[in-house]
């Protein structure tokens, strides 16, 4: 069990480093938490730890962005389920197609489709990460997978 209080944004590197020390591609990071709880900010920090230099903007509009991970064969897939309404739409994203090979997949709003995420990515590890508001500048981050 991983639990700590993060001061935004700098402490977001702590869960990012923790994940990268314990998991090797392919794996999924499933992010859960309300609007403004720090999910996209975490992905930015996570990408930085992977050596990705381009800024990570919110994929809410286009739903799925890809970033090559420097000096590896891996691709960071940044997926945002904010605008996905039901299981049929989720299927249309064809996420199973990215679940093999050397991909690292980060899914925002994963708690909207918990069981589907588990079944789509049943062949690779999933790190569930929960974000909760504590104050304007701090968040509680918890995970049973770290």
């Amino acid at each position: 069990m991983f639990e700590f209080t993060a001061i935004l944004p700098k402490d977001l590197e702590i869960p990012a480093k923790s994940i990268l020390s314990q998991y090797k591609a392919p794996f999924v990071v499933a992010l859960c938490g309300e609007l403004g709880s720090g999910k996209t900010a975490f992905v930015g920090q996570f990408a930085k730890e992977l050596g990705i230099t381009s800024p990570i903007s919110s994929p809410t509009f286009i739903i799925h962005s890809e970033y090559p991970v420097p000096e590896t064969e891996s691709i960071l897939h940044h997926i945002d389920l904010y605008r996905i309404n039901d299981v049929n739409e989720l299927k249309e994203l064809k996420l199973e197609e990215i679940s093999d090979s050397q991909n690292i997949i980060v899914v925002e709003w994963a708690d909207k489709f918990t069981s589907e995420i588990k079944s789509i990515f049943n062949n690779i590890p999933i790190v569930w990460l929960n974000f909760e508001h504590i104050s304007e500048t701090s968040r509680r981050i918890t995970s049973n997978d770290l």
Partner: protein, 365 residues
């Protein structure tokens, strides 16, 4: 040159016919203006709609322009950025038309389309914006639900990106704040209407990145500041509720309409001032002749007024497409961009290998 352009990057199925940059017809089909809980496009339905209605929309565009498919000299299509599964049917249809007619196809970046929408004119040749051509160097700003980007252009299609959002797009922040305030989707216009009744100084929201020294923006922190302000007002913040239970869906019902208007007004001025601060800095640094704006957020009247004022101060021409339909997603801007691509680079802009033309959801300029 008569161009038939297709744009299916989002929820509208749009087809336009142009004679160079003169728009002869522009047809939209959208039956899925979704007002779902989560807001925004329903990707699956968007694709189904494009597949079903592309042909009739093309037929309508041709008949409104009083021409037939035989009169078309070239085709143009958006290949990104946008929703992958929405882009696909448009690209497939454009390839099919190009193959069956033997006429060339030009693949167009949707965001370049938003910028070139400023050069569209109506059938009689009257410009839809305040300009008839670009004067370089210029600053090009794209502001929409997915983009907040700033470029310097030294010539046609010569873009140097000098600014961008590091997280949320400005239009996305309007939509997400709108959701917190119970406004549904899309929320940009509703926030503006509500802001007109509110006090922009009621709440002091941050102007993120103002001191960053670069030309980038951040809208995520502003969104979060609004969320916390809402919870401060309704009094469930800092109380002994279970942490992590700041739920916004039921929060807006506890706000008075004056509070909603004050939040809208205070948020809107913070969003606009953040944007404009960096644009003024870019004007000082690059001394452009024009500021050319594209994307749906420029339909916001308060933003237009602010940009007009600063462009006047700097002696710079401000251009944005005047009709609202030309600011939001449409195929006319794709036709206009394609006509300029052909004018500038000739046949070099034609798609040569159809197998290699694929949708690029996060295509950059």
């Amino acid at each position: 040159m008569k161009i038939l352009a297709i744009d299916t990057s989002c929820d509208d199925t749009s087809v336009a016919i142009s004679e160079n940059n003169k728009i002869l017809s522009n047809v939209f089909w959208s039956k899925i203006k979704t007002h779902s809980k989560w807001g925004g496009v329903v990707p699956l339905e968007a694709r189904r709609q494009h597949e079903e209605f592309l042909k009739p929309v093309i037929d309508t565009a041709l008949s409104e322009a009083n021409i037939t498919l035989d009169d078309i000299d070239m085709f143009a299509v958006t290949y990104g950025p946008g929703l992958a599964i929405a882009l696909e049917p448009g690209i497939e249809k454009a390839k099919e038309l190009s193959i069956t007619t033997g006429k060339p196809l030009i693949a167009v970046n949707h965001m370049i389309g938003h910028i070139y929408a400023n050069l569209a004119s109506d059938k009689s040749g009257s410009s839809y914006s305040s300009i008839s051509d670009f004067e370089f160097p210029l600053l090009a700003l794209t502001i929409s639900g997915g983009h907040t980007d700033l470029y310097v252009m030294d010539d046609h299609f010569k873009f140097e990106q000098i600014g961008r959002t590091l997280d949320d797009a400005i239009g996305e922040s309007f939509d997400k704040v709108g959701r917190m305030l119970g406004m549904g989707f899309p929320a940009g216009y509703k926030i503006e209407q509500s802001a007109n009744e509110g006090n922009p100084h009621a709440y002091n929201f941050p102007r993120p990145m103002k001191g960053s020294g670069d030309l980038n923006w951040s809208y995520s922190g502003l969104k979060t500041a609004v969320l916390y302000q809402i919870h401060k007002i309704i009094g469930d913040y800092g109380s002994d509720q279970k942490e992590g239970e700041l739920k916004m869906d039921d929060a807006s019902s506890k706000l008075s309409s004056q509070q909603i208007s004050d939040i809208s007004a205070s948020f809107q001025i913070a969003a606009i001032e953040s944007l404009v601060f960096k644009i003024e800095r870019a004007m000082q640094k690059y001394t452009p002749k024009m500021l050319v704006v594209g994307g749906g957020v420029i339909t916001n009247t308060a933003l237009r007024t602010t940009l007009e004022r600063i462009c006047d101060n700097f002696g710079i021409i401000l251009s944005y497409p005047k009709p609202m339909w030309l600011c939001t997603d449409n195929a006319s801007m794709i036709a206009v961009a394609a006509s300029y691509m052909y004018e500038v680079s000739g046949e070099a802009c034609f798609v040569l290998d159809f197998d290699k033309l694929d949708r690029v959801p996060n295509l950059a300029i």
